[in-house]
Assembly symmetry: C2
Homo-oligomer: 216 residues x 2
């Protein structure tokens, strides 16, 4: 079992991820800018504890960052000197409110490459969980959406992918960190489909794979 921080663990995505990780038996710390909210969420989910953003990031195996794009840079600056050898999992989707159904990737190419710039070259960085609906994470069923995991650090990518089956999620490697752009862009399409096709948390599945790991 891993020691995991979920920063932004009081938001819909962070809470959903924390809940599934706790259900899988991991030791989860809820991190938030608001100590009261972090404490309340930790109590509600029966998490191992709560902490400030910077403190939550210390002494962990995995640090998941689930904050809005507007808070990404500030959050990563708070943790970059605290995470040590932990794998940082950035979940950021670069939505541009109010036009969240329109793909508008940042000039750097992706929020993943922005995260790399904010964290510097030495932090172990993975991106994942861009496409999974918080609504489904809050349920108990296996999730009908593949999670793409991106990193230039193959070992780190495997560590994150290995967390997924216990969460009821199939993880697939999406390759290099730069490829995160595909999953980030897809999120706007999924939001669009939720409205256009009255979807109950639209997701994606990859087909015709003959060797897929981590099928829940």
């Amino acid at each position: 079992m891993a020691r995991i921080a979920v920063i932004g663990g009081t938001g819909a995505l962070g809470r959903g991820l924390a809940r599934r990780l706790i259900g899988a038996g991991h030791e989860v710390t809820i991190g938030s800018r608001s100590p009261e909210k972090a404490r309340a969420t930790a109590t509600e989910l029966d998490a191992a504890g709560s902490a400030s953003v910077a403190d939550a990031a210390e002494g962990k195996d995995v640090v998941i960052v689930a904050v809005p794009h507007a808070s990404q840079q500030e959050t990563l600056a708070l943790i970059r000197d605290r995470v040590g050898h932990a794998v940082v999992v950035d979940t950021t989707v670069p939505l541009v409110p109010p036009k969240v159904m329109r793909v508008k990737l940042p000039a750097e190419g992706s929020a993943a490459l922005q995260a790399r710039a904010h964290l510097g070259p030495d932090v172990r960085l993975v991106t994942a969980f861009h496409n999974v609906s918080a609504h489904h994470l809050a349920s108990d069923h296996a999730i009908d959406c593949d999670v793409l995991v991106f990193s230039d650090d193959v070992e780190a990518r495997g560590i994150v992918a290995d967390l997924c089956p216990g969460m009821g999620i199939r993880a697939l490697s999406g390759g290099a960190l730069a490829n995160s752009a595909a999953a980030e862009a897809l999120t706007s399409i999924l939001i669009y489909m939720n409205r256009t096709y009255k979807a109950d948390g639209a997701g994606i599945r990859f087909t015709n794979l003959s060797e897929a790991p981590g099928i829940p």
Copy 2:
């Protein structure tokens, strides 16, 4: 039944699309820079005819462009003054050989927005068929991959989506033309998955939709 040109109809994707459209009963013209190749493919597929790129684009309801990214600009320049009110379907994926498994979208954001610039504001433009494997198009089975159709012209998007069920393909609207970036980026992921997961032409399916049109 529609009058359709498939430009680049001698390549793997173009030939596969032409074959399925002919099977659905449409009047298909194969367009190519090489008159001999166009003629040979038209004969082989029992198409209605063959023509040069510019001539193929004239007098059609739908003009599909299936050429490599490196030939996109030249091809669109040849047809822009010939297509009239036809719907142009650009299938271009901005792969950067030899690193085709790495997402590298153009500075404009997508090949779709490049196509818009090349065609000018008055041509009816749709993008589609980015993710469907030529290998599967060459078979007779229903295709286990959704096709995303993008356009700022809702009527044009519908015309292209309506072609798909007859081809054994489920089409879904992906929204605005700018959203094409998502499908274009996904193609690199699918190529990566073909290698990583020994996939037989990896595809994608959207899940949890409650009102999905065009299911084959």
